[in-house]
């Protein structure tokens, strides 16, 4: 099979497996889980194979080019009358996002091994959600991108509403309303691009050649950026995410925070910034301030959270703020820092949500003050929690630092006083990150064991696998960022060249 067909298979496989899962008889929990795991493992193998193939050989954009060059590209007319194409392909940015998504889906499946009732519905919805995300990351046609993106919303709503905890109906409703609002803005922007372009095209690469009217760009850019920004957790439109992520079941929290939100920042970069450079430049200072606000705000609010999931959700607000901050600096180092941070945050937050789920499964509480002394009872989980926590606070040698260093450097080289102040604020906020991470780690793991620690056992083999994979990714990204960064640069340069056109 040709690689482009394999690329399409990455979203067909989850979708087909969802269809097959529906046909499973009710009550066959074990079979459902095994099948879902097999499907997601196959997909991870497929994506890893594609990533390796991409590493070995991929087309390079000529220097100074403003057009993204895609590997494994395929282009079929889907609805020719309206110039809607099924145009897929990957560059280094989407390839790395695909890898992240593949890893997190696989790990999430293993982390959901404890799901008992209605596991069929759970995995059917998870597979549809995954299909939507995989499809979005490879789409280079705005219409297809939008369709795939919308495909993720309904399973998200149902998964949180059915399988969540706490105020799950409210959280699901809030999340969906906010994301729908974002989608409305995105749709507005996409239709604007389609009609204003004069070529009636949804193709991202074709649209990047068009110099849109400045007046159009001035409203279309903020609409698109904000629409994607809501999905990507941009302050102060982040309010859906803490409730949504805290209420969602473990695998869904991992997937939503780790991968789904990245669709937002990915869209900001790939669509809003790439296609509307003249609108982007004047607006970016506004978004820079919002991003820096999110970094600081999320960190301070996280300090006061008692619920581990809420703490991690606000930590995500802070870390996603760093992604937007990197984007807002509009230079190569900042952009690559943003993409690195998307990867780093994806792995880290997935690991933390995974751990929180496992800890909750043992202690039946997520409240930091109710736990103490878990270290002695579950050393493997505790050490994993500490590594993930240190990655979140940006310890060198782990993924977070490699990303943050680029973002901060991008800010200091951007040259504008605002960028300098924003990045200095972001650097200082990492101290607050240290406070909430250590507060949580010390609070639940250290100290004398209390009632919540009674009868707690360490991770089983099935629980260890996702943690080992996620932590290995965090460590690899932290120790060897050089090659990854060089790859990302290749994909970022056309976007940057277009921004500076």
């Amino acid at each position: 099979m040709s690689p482009s067909l394999l690329l399409t298979l990455t979203w067909v496989l989850p979708l087909v497996s969802a269809g097959i899962l529906m046909a499973f008889p009710a009550g066959s929990n074990q079979a459902v889980k095994r099948f879902a795991l097999a499907a997601n493992a196959a997909n991870l193998v497929l994506i890893t194979w594609l990533s390796v193939a991409f590493l070995q050989d991929h087309p390079h954009a000529p220097p100074g080019s403003t057009e993204s060059v895609l590997a494994f590209a395929a282009d079929y007319a889907w609805f020719p009358a309206w110039h809607i194409h099924y145009h897929v392909g990957v560059d280094a940015i989407s390839m790395s996002m695909m890898f992240l998504a593949g890893v997190v889906v696989f790990c999430g499946t293993l982390a959901s091994w404890g799901i008992g009732e209605r596991s069929k519905e759970f995995f059917v919805l998870l597979q549809i959600l995954a299909a939507g995300v995989f499809g979005s990351f490879i789409s280079f046609d705005l219409f297809a991108f939008f369709v795939f993106n919308e495909l993720t919303l309904i399973p998200t709503y149902l998964l949180i509403g059915m399988f969540g905890s706490g105020r799950k109906e409210f959280a699901a409703m809030k999340l969906n309303l906010m994301l729908m609002g974002g989608s409305a803005l995105i749709l507005l922007g996409i239709l604007g691009l389609y009609f204003e372009s004069g070529i009636r095209s949804f193709d991202i690469v074709e649209l990047s050649r068009i110099h849109f009217d400045k007046g159009f760009q001035m409203w279309a850019f903020p609409a698109l950026f904000l629409g994607f920004g809501i999905l990507g957790n941009l302050f102060p439109f982040h309010i859906w995410s803490p409730d949504g992520h805290a209420s969602a079941p473990t695998a869904i929290s991992m997937f939503l925070a780790g991968v789904h939100m990245k669709l937002g920042s990915y869209g900001c970069l790939r669509i809003a910034m790439y296609l509307l450079p003249e609108g982007c430049r004047p607006w970016m200072d506004v978004f820079m301030v919002l991003a820096a606000g999110g970094v600081v705000w999320g960190a301070f609010v996280a300090v006061k959270q008692k619920d581990l999931k809420y703490m991690n959700a606000y930590s995500s607000v802070s870390h996603c703020g760093l992604v937007f901050l990197g984007l807002a600096f509009l230079n190569l180092v900042g952009l690559r820092g943003a993409v690195m941070q998307m990867l780093a945050h994806g792995f880290i937050t997935a690991a933390v949500f995974c751990l929180i789920g496992m800890i909750y499964g043992r202690t039946h509480t997520r409240l930091i003050p109710e736990m103490s002394g878990l270290m002695a009872r579950m050393p493997f989980l505790a050490v994993s929690f500490i590594i993930a926590g240190f990655a979140a606070l940006g310890l060198p040698g782990l993924a977070g630092f490699a990303a943050e260093l680029n973002i901060f450097l991008g800010g200091f080289t951007a040259g504008s006083p605002l960028a300098t102040v924003c990045s200095a604020l972001a650097v200082l906020s990492i101290v607050v990150t240290a406070i909430y991470v250590l507060r949580a780690a010390n609070g639940i793991l250290h100290g004398p064991p209390n009632a919540a620690a009674a009868g707690v056992s360490d991770a089983t083999l099935i629980e260890k696998i996702p943690l080992v994979i996620l932590l290995a990714c965090i460590i690899a990204l932290g120790i060897f960022p050089g090659p990854i960064v060089a790859l990302l640069d290749e994909a970022l340069l056309p976007i940057l060249n277009n921004l500076n056109r």
Binding site: K304, L332, V333, L395, L405, N406, F408, V427, A486
Partner: protein, 682 residues
């Protein structure tokens, strides 16, 4: 990664030695941490010590080879600094033409070689000592990998040739110390101490990161060869900003970097984490205080000395923080009752000496490095011997000790040597390095710092001999008699050492051997290495070498050693008068300690001030309001909007009542309005 290997004038094998020095501690961490530590703590302990022994052997080879190079190139200063190898870790720009890059390298120069030797030597001895110390501890399997990791991080820091590498390992040193200070994690005080150490140094490191980026970007590179060049200082030395908000980039950048050193070396007011760090096992304290962690700050300042010396304001800050901390910590040490806290404050005070020496200028640079060197040995000895005493009496409190001279004779003699060394008594090692610092401070004309140094010498002799008399003289528990009176409010309530088990007082061979070995350099190394430091250890970078030589040439007042010795002897004498044979300290009227004594024993209430700032200001004034606004206002906006939509829907639903009369009435009203205002004709 592998590219651009820079081979110095040393040949291929030296590069391998460099890899080995870093690889063995890392290997020890990985083997013991992932596997051996859980299988067999005993085997893990011996493996770790053996690997550290190999590291030490390589460090000795390296130092010896380097000594040969220095001797062979007497005048040629740049030849003395060479990169054994260097790999690009991450480049901040496109491809190879980028000047901004983070590199991982192994830099050979006088201070890195000196530090590699000190770290591997001290670490090896501490590893050996720990085999005995952690013998009965169930968590020994977790201890040795962390100890090796700590060593690895510090070694990576000192051999770095690039500021980003320094920062990288700097943070790893921080996290290793966090894990080791909180090693007995079931003890709330240990957990709190580790958190305090990490967060305070992290706060300082945030400024370090900002300073590093400012300096690196403006100077056009993060390599020390670039940063320490006169061009870098010139490129940085310009003012940015407008109106009243103007900064000199050189001052801002170097101050930011110095903030990192400030926090790591626990200079006032960042010092509060260091005494609490005593909660860790004693071998860890010994390592933190002598060769790793705290000297990192002094080392960083020395590493960037040529850049710092171009920034007069920064150098002034270095001098003032150092001089103040030296006296401040020495004064506090005089009243503490916790064995390890006395030593901790003495470390603070000695670090202050090293720091202000750097602040006084290039002339004191060799003296400062010399003092790092001698201090490492006698401070390590003091901590290790304190560990023996703690093991013996199951308490950290000097008042529970007393009369240990008979029970622990070998420890007694070794400690005596170290106390004489730190007090600056001739011919012990501390005398030479301290004298050099005072000489250089006097010669540079910084008389304030010089007086602070003299004052510190006197106080050091006083509190160290007080410590010595209280612990080793008198009779066991004798001093407990006054426990209730003078130090009633003292924070140094000696908690029981949790690893202390009921076994008789003994001096195990594994624990005493490192102490006895350390007694040799504590006594002699000052005399024998003085010449090397004064001749070879000069600030890197062109130009300053000559300046250093000049400063040394005209320094040296003949009366200085005499004055310093008299001061030190006075300190010992006062201490003997108050705490010597069967005495309990100064007699206060009414048996109640006066205010100055209480202020000192409460460490000027700085910890309380921090607590106030963190709990009242940080948590109540910032984080809590932020959480409230997030809940009520930001999320409230969503609730308000959805609520408003619901209410609007309710109002609309009133119209859908099913009453045909109402529908007809509304329709007629609509028709009327249309005809009236829209001009619709019927």
């Amino acid at each position: 990664m592998g590219d651009s290997t820079v081979i110095g004038p040393l040949g291929e094998n030296m590069g391998l030695i460099g890899y080995g020095i870093l690889a063995f501690p890392l290997l020890s961490f990985l083997i013991n941490g992932l596997w051996l530590g859980r299988k067999s703590p005993r085997a893990s302990a011996w493996t770790a010590a053996a690997l550290m022994g190999l590291t030490l052997a390589l460090a000795v080879l390296l130092a010896n080879a380097y000594r040969g190079i220095v001797l062979a190139n007497p005048g040629a200063f740049p030849a003395r600094a060479a990169l054994l190898w260097e790999h690009t870790w991450m480049s901040f720009g496109l491809g190879t033409d980028s000047v901004l890059a983070a590199k991982a390298g192994f830099l050979l120069d006088p201070i890195s070689v000196m530090m590699v030797f000190v770290i591997s030597c001290i670490s090896f001895l501490v590893h050996v000592y720990s085999i005995g110390y952690m013998h009965d501890d169930k968590s020994a399997g977790r201890f040795f990998p962390l100890l090796s990791f700590f060593t690895f991080a510090m070694l990576g820091m000192v051999v770095s040739g690039n500021l980003i590498q320094t920062f990288f390992f700097w943070e790893l040193v921080g996290v290793a110390s966090y894990l080791l200070i909180g090693f007995w994690y079931a003890k709330p005080s240990a957990v709190a101490a580790s958190k305090k150490a990490f967060i305070l140094t992290r706060l300082a490191d945030a400024f370090f990161l900002i300073g590093m980026l400012v300096v690196g970007i403006s100077a056009g590179g993060f390599g020390f060869d670039r940063l320490n060049s006169p061009e870098a200082a010139a490129a940085l030395n310009h003012t940015v900003g407008a109106g009243f908000l103007t900064f000199n980039l050189l001052t801002v950048g170097t101050l930011g970097i110095y903030m990192g050193a400030w926090g790591k070396s626990a200079m006032f007011p960042f010092h509060v984490w260091l005494p609490d760090a005593m909660e860790g096992p004693t071998p860890v304290s010994s390592l933190i205080h002598s060769a790793t962690m705290v000297v990192a700050g002094v080392f960083l300042t020395a590493r960037l000395f040529p850049l710092f010396s171009a920034a007069a304001h920064t150098l002034r800050v270095v001098e003032c923080t150092g001089a103040f901390t030296a006296v401040f910590a020495a004064a506090i040490a005089c009243t503490q009752t916790d064995l390890k806290r006395i030593l901790a404050f003495s470390t603070l005070s000695q670090l202050g000496l090293m720091m202000f020496a750097l602040g006084t200028g290039a002339g004191a640079y060799p003296a400062s490095m010399f003092h790092i060197f001698t201090h490492a040995f006698f401070k390590c000895l003091l901590f290790l011997s304190a560990g023996v005493v703690i093991h013996a009496i199951h308490s950290n409190d000097v008042r529970d000790a007393g009369g240990m001279r008979k029970a622990l004779p070998r420890t007694y003699w070794a400690t005596l040597i170290a106390v004489l060394a730190i007090s600056g008594i001739w011919p012990f090692s501390g005398f030479f390095s301290k004298e050099e610092i005072l000489h250089a401070a006097f010669a540079s004309g910084h008389y304030g710092a010089f007086l602070a140094g003299l004052c510190t010498s006197g106080l050091t002799a006083f509190y160290m001999s007080r410590y010595f008399f209280l612990v080793f003289h008198g009779t066991r528990g004798f001093h407990g008699a006054y426990a209730g009176s003078a130090a009633a409010g003292a924070a140094g309530h000696g908690g029981k050492d949790p690893d202390a088990h009921a076994h008789p007082v003994r001096e195990g061979l594994l624990m005493t051997l490192p102490i006895l070995i350390l007694a040799v350099p504590s006594a002699l190394i000052g005399y024998f290495s003085k010449g090397f430091f004064m001749r070879a250890v000069l600030p890197s970078g062109s130009g300053t070498a000559e300046a250093g030589g000049e400063a040394l040439a005209h320094g040296g007042a003949a009366w200085l050693p005499a004055v310093a010795t008299v001061l030190a002897l006075t300190g010992v004498a006062v201490s003997w008068y108050w705490y010597g044979m069967k005495k309990n300290g100064p007699a206060f009227p009414n048996g109640k300690a006066p205010a100055w004594y209480r202020i000192l024993s409460n460490k000027f209430y700085i910890d309380e001030l921090y607590l106030f700032l963190a709990k009242r200001v940080g948590a109540r004034l910032v984080a809590a309001p932020a959480a409230w606004v997030e809940r009520r206002i930001v999320n409230g906006a969503f609730d308000w909007v959805t609520g408003a939509i619901k209410r609007m829907a309710f109002v609309q639903s009133l119209a859908q009542s099913g009453q045909v009369q109402l529908y007809i009435a509304v329709a007629l009203l609509g028709l009327y309005l249309l005809s009236r205002f829209a001009g619709l004709a019927f």
